[in-house]
């Protein structure tokens, strides 16, 4: 297994109290595999990714438990200096907003080349040649001429390509893409996702795709982890989850997608708001918003039940998963 996150806990110490952002997350990605992490804002999907990358702001953040095994080695036990060498070279991250993720005062060629200078100690000239190569690879036209331009001289889609090129520069084994297409036009979204998927296949990388867009997930992901209030509530292969979700929250998410055959009808929305992380409800954290909620849900925290029905394993953290899956 390339990456295994085991029982990860992250909390933030704020003036109002301790916000429990991640409460025991387990997931794993293999080489060449794509895991989509799905959830609303505040569900802990980005915080988990930051913990994996080691770019959490500490303090106020704190990793209060768990392990992050990367190629069998617990990253949380590494010293910062060793950790830094893993970042960029073995695992890299693609951010949501490419404009703000690129340094406005450094030309894109220098920023791409920096990867080679920091990790490989290359000369300025060699790293520039590498930068042009990378820009060609992510299909930026006229790479040679544009290598000296600044981020604001590129369009949104092109900037995201540059971010992807930067992440891929050292051919890492794992890529974490945090909502890579959210800031883009729909037409460009598909191109960028396609490019990412293609490069992933080519380099046989593990990919963690963080998103709240179910449409993006369906095409590229192998498996899905749905997060709610810092926990994984459902984990399943992508096609099964679309066919029959095993958690009422996943069902709610799928039902909130507008569909053509529903024209003129009211669009479903999950009632209520995501929980306040300072005071997560007892029992199942989804219970105040759940249509299936009963007394047991308000007291017992549901474990991640094994709900496998086909050869591929899947899991759901709902006491009444059978009802949800078959009802």
């Amino acid at each position: 297994m390339l990456l295994e996150v085991r029982d990860l806990h992250v909390e933030f110490h704020t003036r109002e109290g301790v916000a429990k952002a991640v409460n025991g997350v387990d997931y794993s990605v293999d080489a060449g595999e794509t895991l989509a992490v799905l959830g609303e804002s505040g569900s802990g999907k980005s915080v988990t990714a930051q913990a994996v990358m080691g770019i959490l702001d500490i303090p106020p953040g704190r990793i209060s438990g768990g392990e992050i095994l990367f190629q069998g080695q617990d990253l949380l036990k590494l010293k910062e200096e060793e950790r830094r060498k893993v970042r960029g070279a073995k695992m890299a991250m693609i951010f949501q907003d490419a404009l703000s993720s690129l340094n406005p005062v450094i030309s894109v060629g220098d920023q791409l080349g920096e990867m080679f200078r920091v990790h490989r100690g290359m000369s300025r000239k060699d790293s520039r040649a590498k930068a042009v190569e990378l820009m060609d690879r992510v299909r930026i036209p006229a790479a040679k001429e544009r290598v000296g331009q600044y981020p604001h001289q590129f369009s949104g889609g092109m900037r995201q390509r540059i971010m992807i090129a930067m992440a891929l520069a050292l051919e890492p084994e794992l890529i974490i893409a945090d909502e890579p297409t959210t800031a883009l036009d729909v037409t460009v979204q598909a191109q960028v996702m396609e490019l990412l998927a293609e490069l992933q296949r080519e380099l046989n990388m593990g990919l963690i795709l963080i998103t709240h867009d179910l449409g993006v997930v369906a095409d590229v992901a192998d498996k899905i982890a749905v997060m709610y209030a810092g926990k994984i509530v459902e984990q399943a292969p992508v096609h099964e989850i679309y066919k029959a979700p095993a958690h009422p929250y996943t069902r709610g998410l799928l039902d909130s997608i507008p569909r053509l055959d529903q024209k003129g009808q009211e669009l479903y929305a999950i009632k209520g708001l995501p929980p306040n992380l300072l005071a997560i409800p007892p029992g199942c954290s989804f219970n105040p918003r759940c249509p299936l909620a009963r007394d047991r849900c308000r007291t017992d925290v549901p474990p991640l039940y094994d709900v496998t029905e086909s050869p591929v394993p899947r899991a759901s953290a709902c006491h009444f998963w059978k009802e949800c899956l078959h009802g």
Binding site: M53, I55, R84, K85, V86, R87, G88, A89, A92, M93, F95, D97, L99, S100, S101, L102, N103, P104, V105, I106, S107, G109, D110, E114, M115, V118, H119, P141, A142, E145, R146, V147, G148, Q149, Y150, P151, H152, Q153, F154, S155, G156, G157, M158, M163, M166, A167, A169, A183, L184, D185, T187, V188, Q191
Partner: protein, 331 residues
């Protein structure tokens, strides 16, 4: 946007809207841009074909075309040259005075007339530049380095050190500059410029420190600093390469403007009798001694005061031009 990029482009509706927004607001026209960009040197290919340039050479490229910069730089260059070699344009000695000629006006060989002591005003204005430029440049360098480094580190690391430093700057801010000068400099007997410069650095660094701290905190929160971290950059690399260039512009602007005010402050302190002391030649000293004769002999006041005003203005204009050139988003 200072200059339209290409005439064709500004007729395109989507892009015309985009170009009115802040830098790089091209998202509006992304769909068209994506397709158009397939042709090399497309709509955004303003730099295509040219040699890639660094931030600094780009800034220089802009500055050379900015008349404000050219004028202020020429004035400053002139000031620097005459403060190093005053004898180039003034043959006399500023301390060679003839009381018989006191307060006399302009006459051949002495275009600015004579001051209350009978010294040649022109020669004294020329020699005074050296003092002003030395005080201004040294005080600004001292303030910018001390304040910039302390403020920058406090902003980057935050926490306890930031708290301590911020309280210290508060204390220094509470000291009124002129009153502080009267108290601290009145005990100094040296007639060199160094005590005055030291005093300015002592009271001036908190201003720069606060600005540096603020702009480092702002720059630190930028996604690209996080991104650099996620791609394996070290603390020092993030600080020097990603934060400093993005945080340095306000410091440069404030420092350049402060340079003008330090020159004015030197004049103020000298005017009050606690700054520089004769026999040092300084515009402040001359303005001070001339001020009582403003009605009978205004030329004694106007020439050094004019030189002071032009110098201060030149530095402030230079600061402005440099700021504009260093911000690629304004390009």
């Amino acid at each position: 946007m200072p200059e339209p990029l290409e005439p064709l482009e500004s007729y395109d509706e989507g892009r015309a809207i985009a170009s009115t927004g802040a830098g790089g607001a091209s998202d509006l026209g992304t769909a068209e841009a994506e397709t158009l960009e397939k042709t090399p040197g497309g709509p955004e290919g303003t730099g295509a074909g040219k040699k890639p340039r660094s931030l600094w050479s780009d800034a220089w490229h802009d500055l050379r075309r900015n008349p404000v910069f050219i004028i202020s730089a020429l004035v400053i260059l002139f000031l620097v040259v005459i403060s190093i070699w005053p004898s180039l344009i003034a043959s006399g000695d500023p301390l060679d005075c003839d009381l018989a000629k006191a307060q006399e006006g302009s006459q051949p060989g002495h275009p600015f007339g004579f001051n209350g002591q009978g010294c040649d005003v022109y020669t004294r204005v020329v020699y005074g530049a050296r003092t002003s430029v030395t005080v201004g440049v040294c005080a600004t360098l001292g303030v910018a380095i001390l304040g910039g480094v302390l403020g920058g580190l406090a902003g980057f690391y935050g926490g306890t050190w930031d708290g301590i430093l911020s309280r210290i700057t508060d204390v220094f801010f509470a000291i009124p500059v002129v009153l502080g000068g009267l108290v601290l400099l009145s005990v100094v007997t040296s007639s060199t410029v160094w005590p005055v410069i030291g005093f300015m650095v002592l009271l001036g660094w908190p201003q720069i420190s606060r600005i540096a701290r603020g702009s480092v905190i702002t720059a630190k929160q930028n996604d690209y600093v996080q991104a650099a971290r996620a791609l394996g950059a070290s603390n020092s690399r993030m600080m020097l390469r990603h934060i400093t260039p993005n945080a340095v512009a306000p410091v440069i602007v404030v420092a350049t403007i402060a340079l003008g005010t330090y020159i004015a402050l030197e004049a103020t302190l000298s005017y009050l009798g606690v700054g520089l002391k004769p026999p040092t030649v300084s515009w402040g000293i001359d303005i001070s001694s001339a001020s009582q004769y403003i009605r009978n002999a205004p030329h004694m006041l106007l020439w050094p005061a004019g030189a002071l005003a032009v110098t201060v203005l030149a530095f402030i204009m230079l600061g402005d031009a440099v700021r504009d050139a260093l911000d690629p988003k304004l390009r």
